[in-house]
């Protein structure tokens, strides 16, 4: 099954008000061309789930700069003053989640778990409104699964069906997010025929990926 399409056609599947997961860590591993296409479409009222707010006009910052984000669920915003300005102005509602709790909540959604027990955040503002569960004398917070309508992810290499291979630290949240959204769109730097990628090297199997968009290579 050939899943290759263009960035513009792919992002048309994102609807106003959608919850969108976006891969990357400070823009490394962010699907820049999908984000640029989405920003151009002006699909707004989005809830974004991402590691950090990246930079103004870069990574998820492209959506924030374009005024398309209503709510942001992330672990860090310190590199993007724009999100803080928009939060202060009441334009964006920001929810901070410890990064390792964010990874596990996404994983829980993708792996079909009802939640995960994590001690991170005990004794801090993070525990507000959450159930504390004791197991063998140790306390944990019950953290619920976090899923999305769409995941926009990035990989180094893919075949036409969407078997994905990553490079360097650009892997980060991408393989997790591929498991936790109804529609998964992968931007890839290199596209090869089916059979070219050694099955031993595949990190995200194609069954998780719905659409593949080829990006320009940077290297």
């Amino acid at each position: 099954m050939d899943k290759v399409t263009t960035a513009i056609d792919a992002v048309k599947r994102v609807k106003q008000g959608s919850t969108v997961m976006i891969g990357g860590f400070l823009s490394v591993g962010a699907p820049q061309q999908l984000l640029a296409a989405l920003a151009k479409q002006m699909i707004n009222e989005l809830t974004i789930i991402c590691c950090a707010a990246d930079y103004p006009q870069d990574g998820v910052g492209r959506l924030i700069s374009a005024g398309l984000v209503k709510r942001a669920i992330l672990s860090h915003s310190g590199t993007n003053p724009e999100i803080e300005e928009r939060a202060a102005a009441g334009e964006i509602e920001v929810e901070f989640i410890p990064q390792g709790t964010l990874t596990e909540r996404i994983r829980a959604a993708g792996m079909g778990l009802g939640g995960v027990l994590i001690s991170t955040g005990l004794g801090t503002a993070i525990e507000e409104g959450k159930r504390t569960i004791e197991v063998d004398g140790n306390s944990f917070l019950l953290e619920k699964p976090l899923k999305a309508d769409v995941a926009l992810i990035k990989a180094a290499r893919s075949d036409h069906t969407g078997n994905l291979v990553y490079h360097g630290a650009a892997r980060n949240f991408n393989p997790l997010m591929a498991t936790a959204a109804d529609l998964v769109i992968a931007e890839v730097e290199e596209l090869v025929p089916v059979g070219e990628i050694d099955p031993d090297q595949v990190v995200t199997p194609a069954i998780f990926v719905d659409l593949v968009v080829q990006a320009k290579r940077r290297r």
């Binding site: 860590f25 400070l26 490394v28 591993g29 590691c51 950090a52 992330l74 672990s75 860090h76 915003s77 310190g78 590199t79 999100i83 803080e84 939060a87 202060a88 920001v94 901070f96 410890p98 990064q99 390792g100 709790t101 990874t103 596990e104 994983r107 994590i118 001690s119 991170t120 955040g121 005990l122 004794g123 801090t124 503002a125 993070i126 180094a156 990553y166 490079h167 360097g168 630290a169 650009a170 892997r171 980060n172 949240f173 991408n174 393989p175 997790l176 990190v203 940077r218 290297r219």
Partner: protein, 224 residues
Amino acid sequence: MDKRARREYIARRVAQELSNGDVVNLGIGIPTLVANFIPAEITVIFHSENGFVGIGPPPREGEEDPDIINAGGQFVTILPGGAFFDSTLSFGIIRGGHLDIAVLGVLEVDAQGNLANWTVPGRSGPGMGGAMDLVTGAKRVIVATEHTTKSGRPKIVERCALPLTGERVVDLIVSDLGVLEVTPNGLLLKELRPGVTIDELQAKTAARFSIQPCLAAELGPAIG
């Protein structure tokens, strides 16, 4: 001592806390400098929370790999023997007891080992990133910080006023004035930086602390 020398003093002193084979995560700022002062006779493995172990030195100009940055967003390299992984495994390393030491900066740290470094009232961010996971999961948490803020306000306080990053998590505080251990009985001053008087440290610390007996003996009978 100028700012740079003070920061290097802290980093050099933290480096002495590391042992051969330790898996170590360095935070942004002074903690990052620790990597420059690792004693020649030991090898430590640096963990980067964005997904690898084996952080190497910065690349030469023109040789940067755009996909290899540290958690502060700076281009770095990966050493032979290093490995990349996804964010779940990266935080599993932190939370699962596989990280020996985390070194972090703070806005405030207190006598009970609480620390605050993720936000201030009236501001939306900047957020905790991986800091809450690091202080909860690392086997040993070392705070590397200047003793006071730019305006001279003590960072070591009796009780943190800012929103906490972690509760009772800090093991050791290394500042430009000395080294304090967090014990069940409160703070214990273990070292003074050469040239620093106990009076200066006391004046710049907003928490009670006791003095390790051998240091107290060195300081003489006037102390106590």
